[in-house]
Amino acid sequence: MAEQMKVIYERPTSWANKVTHYCPGCTHGVAHRLVAELVDEMGLVDKTIGVWPVGCAVLGYDYFNFDSVEAAHGRAPAMATGIKVTNPDNFVFTYQGDGDLASIGMAEIVHAAARGWPITVIFINNGNYGMTGGQMAPTTLLGQKTTTSPLGRTPQANGFPIRVAEMLAQLDGPAYIARVSLDSPVNIRKAKSAMRKAFNAQVRGIGFSLVECLSTCPTNWKLTPVESMERVRKEVMPYFPLGEFKVVEGVL
């Protein structure tokens, strides 16, 4: 007699079933999976449009079974706003790294948040420019060694890291702003719940939403994947505290 098996976990159907180009242990894959799971669970496959950045996630459009477009470097929020204005019934999200969103795209993200148009931003904060070889990003921690700060980042030479979530939460436009971490099963569950609220903020037409995900870059941090997770907990989380910084009524 055949055994009856129930599903504990299976691949999301909006995931295109390809092997990603990401390095071993990179949490981009986790963030991708959470997006795919939520698109499935909220029944958004037919109306989702993803806007992909320049950076490691530049090939992200390849991995999902929904429509995607590729934005110019940093301009994903501007492009997403345009798509949302002309297609208000579609679910539009952008997926951006810290080099894309917090550096060249800083103006776009601040004004997109200030306009408060209902788009969703998934922001991956791994503290460097991963794709180009680990250069210093606006989110690189003080003292962190990168290829463009070989002696460690110093405030005199390089300024201070930018806390994007807190900064945008001061604006009146956004409906939901949170920072989550992808370092452990418990935090990944919390990350999914935060992303669900961010998706809800758009689906219910409440306003702009952003989820900042603390991520790892084992290759450029020159650590193993397990050590990278440890570094997120010990060094990154004290500077970038987790939490919800703005929750407008109706998002939950």
Binding site: K6, I8, Y9, E10, R11, P24, G25, P185, I188
Partner: protein, 71 residues
């Protein structure tokens, strides 16, 4: 059907599932997959508690989990 099914061709041998498994039944195997990584493997299917931690941390969506339905 296995409780823990790991798609060996997807696995990139990052070892996160091995580090996170509460019952320590996952190891990195000795063989190579087509991409040149040594995939994770489950040593004892019966010990799996279906907690889902390995599937949650896997960045390559290589792990699927099932469980027998109790009669």
């Amino acid at each position: 059907m296995e409780r823990v099914s790991i798609d060996e061709q997807r696995c990139k041998s990052c070892g996160l599932c091995v580090s996170i498994c509460p019952v320590k039944i996952l190891i990195i195997s000795d063989r190579l997959n087509a991409r040149g990584f040594r995939p994770a493997q489950c040593t004892d299917q019966d010990k799996c508690t279906s907690c889902g931690s390995c599937a949650l941390v896997c960045p390559d969506i290589a792990i699927e989990l099932h469980r027998e339905v109790k009669a």
